[in-house]
């Protein structure tokens, strides 16, 4: 009865994605149950109390104790609200507040947005960022499967939003800020990255690829891509208040 809403939900390939899906489904079960009950009552009343010849309505202003007929259901709504809030907070906490520290992560990357492209800096063979062998690519983010990844998100011009449906991840990129986030992809494949914040003419074509590779393929890719020496950067990250 409840799963139909999620029929088209894309597959999930991140460690925390299932928790977000779980929260959405938990909320849906609660609120849709309410919806069904309330609509049934509403339509029962409408059908049952349609005007009849010579009929007369009952004078029910809902004063005094009668008001409990609506206050008790409202108290139940309140209880459901609080239950939802208590259940969902840990998920938000895990994804956006208590993120893994850099030393707990397998990899750190820079993501930089511009009108209308995604730029990525990935560590080269030495596995660490801001070294000479960093790999700078526009449009494709390549990562090994299972790696716990911390990203630093910036924007060169307007607000963009880093949006990877299969990771259940969305985070605005705000010029002037360097926003930290994380994810851990659990399945190999090539996936779509979009920009979820209106950013100008090319908003609808701002697209990038996320490639999650097996350890072996990733090593091969590293071998091929990692530059020996520092290159002139293709683009510049300006972060005034780092």
């Amino acid at each position: 009865m409840f799963d139909w809403l999620f029929y088209w939900l894309p597959e999930n390939i991140s460690t925390y994605g299932a928790k977000i899906d779980g929260i959405m489904k938990m909320i849906w079960v609660i609120v849709f149950s309410w919806f069904v009950v309330v609509e049934l009552v509403l339509f029962y009343f409408i059908f049952r109390y349609r005007a009849k010849e010579g009929g007369r309505a009952s004078f029910q202003p809902g004063h005094g104790k009668a008001v409990l007929w609506i206050l008790i259901p409202a108290a139940l709504v309140l209880a459901c609200d609080l239950a939802i809030d208590v259940r969902q907070n840990p998920v938000w906490d895990e994804i956006k507040i208590n993120m893994p520290k850099p030393e707990e992560a397998d990899q750190e990357i820079e993501i930089n947005a511009q009108q209308f492209a995604w730029n990525f800096v990935m560590p080269g063979r030495d596995g660490s960022l801001k070294t000479a062998d960093d790999i700078k690519v526009m449009g494709t983010l390549t990562l090994p499967v299972g790696a716990k990844v911390i990203f630093y998100l910036t924007s060169q011009d307007v607000i963009h939003s880093f949006w990877v449906p299969v990771l259940r991840l969305k985070q605005d990129a705000v010029p002037g800020r360097r926003i930290t986030g994380w994810f851990q992809a659990t399945k190999e494949g090539t996936y779509i990255i979009g920009c979820a914040e209106l950013c100008g003419s090319g908003h609808g074509v701002m697209k990038a690829k996320l490639r999650i590779l097996s350890p072996h393929d990733y090593e091969e890719w590293l071998e091929k891509e990692s530059p020996e020496t520092a290159e002139e950067t293709a683009w510049k990250v300006e972060v005034p208040h780092e």
Binding site: G62, V67, V77, I97
Partner: protein, 551 residues
């Protein structure tokens, strides 16, 4: 006095609250046609990408961004606000409190004509070089702070000017409404004898007036950025784009309740009259809505969970957002309880009112998913949000608005709208509404983000295309369904069945005045003896008692 007035004084530059209310309403309805046309343009493009839109032409990314931006702007500021708050508020509040007019009739006229000017400026923005604004109805900087980012210069300036003028007009309208309610109630009309609609209009005006200041400040700061490069919102000049979002949503979220409350008021009047029952728990509704009004100022950051604000700040805003469901649940439960043991008459206004309640519930429950910080990470800025807010706003603005129009049309023009065509209009509008927006929940959960002009560009979204087509076909039906309404509206104004002063046998004071009421409203000054919901009082010999009826 009214005899000596010219046609212009009477119908154009009128100071009569009823004429001004109708002017607001008709301007709003005309703007709704423009908003609907823009919806047609972008929905056609979404369903049949890059085939060209009949009656418009090629839709590229710029045309698309313009259409969605102006659709949102128009529907919120030039349709919902003028029809619900200024239109019904102006027309009904003085009548319902038993006043001859608003407290400041001249200011009232000025408020309408300021609004009219804002409309002219907004429409003019379509015709300047580069066209109207393409930056969304939220107008976020830095996209809007530097015209070069969108290539829209005058369109953006005029957008800001039009919105500023509109708000000035609504402020005049709001102060008038509040002053009138406080000072001009008829003898015996205590606050708790006022129809709920009057309460709702006043609370809505208060919310608007308390929230609009920061947005006007934000708009002026943005003008400073655009014209002088001040840099309030430009990081390279030391500014912060998030500041604007706070200013915008501090207004923007209360604004949805500014739109919702008048509709709740309309619904309350209609369901009581057609269920022949008093409103259930009158005072509880008033207190719940007052509480919601206060709470509405503490939820704004739920639009910004993933915008880069401190994630720890999201938790309290998530909680307040979810909690605001409680007062509105109370209202919905009270409305439903009003049907209990009633004698329900299914006239067109009642059908629209019932549909408003039934559909709004779905908009309400889906809001909880958006309001959850964790779930919002996924659904934010997707079509799920689009579907959710259309499931709240469409029932409020259109189902609620139509309910009000069918109900008070006999008062406004002394004639009924045609009932049979009204039911056709009702059935087609309500069904097609669901056909448009139900699929969009799936489109959103399928991963479609907002404001992209061609979903086929994203390989992961191609499987959702049939849903986009269904939604667009639904829109065709919805737009077509308005044709009988428009014809009915103008035909009935002159040729409809004549209506008596109180055709629905309702209690509030506007039904004591003649239909249509002349200048000055009441033939004799009404003296109020009871609340407006004495329907089916056991000791009475009929099932309604006007507020002026002596016990």
């Amino acid at each position: 006095m009214s005899e000596s007035m010219t046609w212009t004084q009477k119908y154009l530059f009128s100071q009569d609250h009823k004429v001004i209310g109708i002017q607001y309403m008709i301007t709003g309805l005309i703007m709704a046609l423009l908003g609907g046309y823009l919806a047609y343009v972008f929905r056609y493009q979404l369903a049949f990408p890059n085939e060209g839109v009949p009656g418009f032409g090629e839709v590229g990314p710029d045309e698309y961004n313009l259409a969605i931006s102006m659709h949102g702007t128009i529907m919120v500021f030039w349709v919902a606000m003028p029809i619900l708050l200024s239109g019904f508020g102006n027309y009904l509040v003085p009548l319902m409190i038993g006043a001859k007019d608003m407290a400041f009739p001249r200011l009232n006229m000025m408020s309408y004509w300021t609004f009219f000017l804002s409309t002219v400026v907004l429409i003019a923005s379509f015709f300047v070089p580069e066209g109207a604004s393409k930056s969304g109805w939220t107008f976020y900087p830095p996209l809007t702070a530097v015209p070069g980012y969108t290539g829209v210069f005058w369109g953006g300036h005029l957008w800001l000017l039009a919105v500023a003028l509109e708000f000035a007009s609504m402020l005049m309208s709001g102060i008038n409404l509040l002053t009138s309610t406080i000072t001009m109630r008829a003898k015996g009309m205590s606050y708790f004898r006022m129809p709920l609609l009057v309460w709702m209009m006043n609370i809505a005006s208060l919310i608007f007036m308390f929230s609009v200041g920061p947005l006007i400040a934000g708009a002026f700061m943005l003008l400073g950025d655009r014209f002088f490069g001040v840099g309030f919102f430009i990081p390279s000049a030391g500014g912060d784009p998030l500041l604007y979002q706070h200013l915008f949503w501090f207004f923007g979220h209360p604004e949805v309740y500014v739109i919702l409350l008048p509709a709740l008021g309309i619904i309350a009047e209609i369901i009581t009259a057609f269920a022949r029952k008093p409103i259930f728990a009158y005072r509880t509704i008033v207190y719940a809505v007052l509480a919601a009004g206060v709470l509405s100022f503490l939820v704004w950051a739920h639009h910004q969970f993933i915008s880069g604000i401190d994630p720890r700040l999201a938790a309290p805003f998530g909680l307040t957002t979810i909690l605001i469901s409680v007062p509105f649940a109370i209202c919905m439960f009270a409305f439903i309880a009003t049907f209990w043991k009633g004698q329900i008459r299914f006239k067109t206004p009642m059908l629209f009112a019932i549909a408003m309640i039934a559909e709004f519930l779905f908009g309400g429950i889906t809001g909880i998913i958006n309001g959850s910080t964790a779930a919002d990470i996924y659904v934010h800025d997707t079509y799920f949000v689009v579907a959710h807010f259309h499931y709240t706003l469409f029932p409020v603005v259109f189902l609620g608005g139509f309910a009000g129009i069918y109900y008070w049309f006999p008062k406004m023009f002394g004639r009924f709208l045609n009932e049979a065509w009204g039911k056709v209009h009702f059935a087609l509008t309500t069904l097609s509404f669901n056909m448009v927006f139900l699929p969009l929940f799936f489109v959103g959960l399928g991963g479609t983000h907002r404001r992209i002009f061609d979903p086929s560009y994203f390989e992961n979204l191609t499987q959702l295309q049939p849903l986009q087509v269904i939604a667009t076909l639904g829109l065709f039906i919805m737009l077509g369904a308005q044709v009988p309404f428009i014809i009915n509206f103008f035909y009935s104004m002159f040729k409809g069945k004549q209506a008596s002063a109180n055709p629905w046998e309702a209690n509030s004071l506007e039904w004591v005045a003649p239909s249509p009421p002349g200048h000055g409203n009441f033939l004799e000054e009404p003296v109020v003896t009871r609340w407006p919901y004495d329907y089916s009082l056991p000791q009475a010999n009929k099932d309604w008692l006007s507020q002026t009826e002596v016990a």
